[in-house]
């Protein structure tokens, strides 16, 4: 009896030791991210919630203010709802157009037989341009008075819009900029389109399907996961849309640090406001850190909603797969 107990004890402790060793190993490998997660994600998130209830201007110590910041942002801050509306516009229009255009360019590229490499490189290049540089270039090109685009349009006789200076055209101008940088979506769609099994096309052709029918019944079903991926990541990117609208507004408004007032975002007429810009405006221009945290939490909530949607839609994500 004793020997069996001893042996089984040794086996059990051996097992426990092995598991402990494995746990340590996992912890060691995961440690960089674990620390990063705690310090750069969890802690600031809790802090943001905390500061959203405080009044803090960066100089005097923070004081409790309860729901004052929340009431201010939702009811009195004149930029909050326009920014939300703009986000909605961008999600509905810019993301949709990007996905459609990306698919279109991807299709085009797969059909180009001569000089595919050259075309692909040219189509991809704009995506590489740093956002600040690209936005400034477009602000210059689309300058209603002195830009080349309008001068060409007018020569041809087409009424030239005010682009970044016209509240009705500023978001379309930003969309144009986003379409110019379609390279990333083009590559994804291109890969997906090339992945469609050729046999399915051949089978459809034998059945007498037209080009459109082939597209609708063979191509689309095969690439629909990619389309979904492009839509959801597009929405998530829209949540983070910061640099381009800010730079476009700054450059187009021509507001220089001259005598008098500071630059309020969203030129022209709040049409280019986005939520991330509000965090900057409230936190680093108005020095109302509390309200900035309120907007930050709204941004967080919106992003998490779409992240959850992405994760559910992508199903496995190879979570289990080994």
């Amino acid at each position: 009896m004793a020997t069996i107990t001893l042996a089984s004890k040794r086996r059990r402790s051996g097992l426990a030791a092995k598991q402990r060793k494995q746990a340590l190993r996992t912890a060691a490998f995961m440690s960089p991210w674990l620390i990063g997660f705690a310090v750069f994600f969890a802690y600031p998130l809790i802090s943001t919630v905390y500061f959203s209830f405080m009044h803090y201007d960066g100089f005097k110590p923070p004081t409790w203010s309860g729901t004052k910041n929340w009431t201010y942002v939702f009811e009195h801050y004149p930029f909050f709802w326009p920014a939300l509306r703009n986000t909605l516009w961008l999600v509905l229009v810019m993301v949709t157009l990007r996905v459609l255009f990306g698919l279109g360019i991807g299709l085009l590229i797969t059909k180009i037989k001569t000089g595919t490499g050259v075309f692909r490189t040219l189509f991809y290049l704009p995506y590489l341009a740093p956002p600040v540089a690209a936005t400034m270039a477009f602000a210059f090109l689309l300058n209603p008075g002195t830009g080349p685009v309008n001068s060409i349009l007018e020569k041809v006789g087409i009424p030239a819009p005010g682009w970044f200076n016209d509240p009705a055209w500023s978001k379309p101008a930003l969309t144009l900029l986003a379409l110019w940088g379609i390279g990333d979506l083009m590559v994804i769609f291109m890969a997906a389109l090339l992945d469609v099994p050729k046999e399915q096309y051949e089978a459809a052709e034998l059945d007498g399907a037209s080009a459109w029918q082939r597209f609708r019944y063979v191509t689309l079903p095969n690439i629909s996961p990619i389309i979904m991926f492009a839509v959801v990541t597009g929405v998530i990117q829209t949540m983070q849309y910061y640099t381009q609208p800010l730079i476009a507004g700054k450059v187009a408004s021509g507001v220089i640090q001259g005598a008098g007032t500071q630059f309020e975002p969203g030129y022209p007429e709040k049409s280019t406001l986005t939520l991330p810009q509000l965090v900057y405006n409230l936190g680093f221009q108005r020095f109302d850190y509390g309200s900035a945290c309120v907007v930050a939490l709204v941004l967080f909530a919106l992003s998490m909603v779409f992240t959850a949607f992405l994760m559910r839609r992508r199903g496995g994500l190879n979570l289990a797969g080994d």
Partner: protein
């Protein structure tokens, strides 16, 4: 007779009408597709061309509606280079992007490996958390992070608040690497274990060499993310011109040269060019990396 029949005679088969129509249609198709391609190429390339042309104009001409410079002012580029701080911006951007990339890759690899190959409780939870972090806009946590770096550690006015976090893994890189590492067959790893290698040596000697394309893709993405970053330097480095990066400096440049569009466009070219050059040398890794995110997983 024999000589004539030596060489087989090629007799052209008569072309049927249907074939002719089909050939004409495919020719028309070719023309249509390639015209569309050229039109698209113009859309993508013309802005670069205009920017380049404007960068070579004189001060007054840049404000006019002319499209072609009258005089080719290559000196504009020299003026931009001589702008105080321009070379500093270069140096800072290289440090931020270079050092940041190295730190990211080194710290993300073990995490990605664990998520790909280890089985442990909390793996799925960790993976979901990684994805959540990927989707998080930086503005959500910027206030406490800024207070932490500026007030606690007195590191504002430097790029350290941006570089140091990269030593703790980057969610996007971790995710990408994980997807890639999962495609490496377990047999290699098992073989290494049998040979007596510990987990770390297995990773180093066996897995990493096979993961080179994935690592290259991740490195490139991280490099460009840091190179193009505007928000980060705006928050942390703005008060110290000695710490500015190219993105932030470019915007400041426009502020200081309100209407010198020719100089601003020259500066823009100088900021865009290196990225495009690196791309030309690393095309394959790039495209593979983008494909990894979208198509696989």
């Amino acid at each position: 007779m024999a000589q004539v029949l030596d060489k087989p005679v090629q007799v052209k088969a008569p072309v049927s009408a249907a074939e002719r129509t089909a050939r004409r249609r495919s020719l028309l198709e070719w023309i249509a597709i390639h015209s569309l391609g050229v039109a698209a190429a113009l859309f993508f390339v013309l802005p670069f061309v205009f920017v380049l042309l404007t960068s070579l104009m004189s001060d007054t001409q840049a404000l006019s509606r002319d499209l072609i410079p009258h005089t080719w002012e290559w000196s504009n580029y020299k003026k931009v280079f001589d702008t105080p701080g321009f070379l500093t911006w270069w140096k800072n951007t290289l440090i931020y992007a270079g050092l940041g990339t190295v730190l990211t890759v080194v710290s993300s690899i073990p995490v990605a490996y664990a998520l790909a190959k280890f089985r442990f409780r909390g793996r799925n939870l960790s993976l979901m958390l990684v994805i959540s972090m990927m989707m998080l806009p930086p503005q959500v946590v910027i206030i406490p992070m800024y207070l932490f770096w500026a007030k606690q550690l007195d590191l504002s006015g430097t790029l350290w608040p941006l570089i140091i976090p990269m030593a703790f893994g980057d969610a996007f890189s971790i995710f990408l690497l994980r997807q890639f590492l999962m495609t490496i067959p377990n047999e290699y790893i098992d073989a290494a274990k049998v040979d007596g290698c510990g987990d770390f040596r297995t990773l180093l000697k066996v897995v990493l060499p096979m993961a080179r394309p994935g690592i290259a893709a991740v490195a490139l993405f991280q490099f460009f993310y840091a190179w193009n970053d505007y928000f980060g330097p705006q928050i942390y480095a703005s008060e110290n011109p000695g710490a500015w990066t190219l993105s932030y400096g470019l915007e400041s440049f426009k502020g200081a040269h309100h209407t010198d569009w020719n100089l601003t466009m020259a500066a823009t070219v100088l900021v865009m060019a290196p990225v495009i050059l690196v791309f030309f040398f690393a095309q394959k890794a790039f495209v593979e990396g983008v494909t990894l995110t979208g198509v696989k997983g």
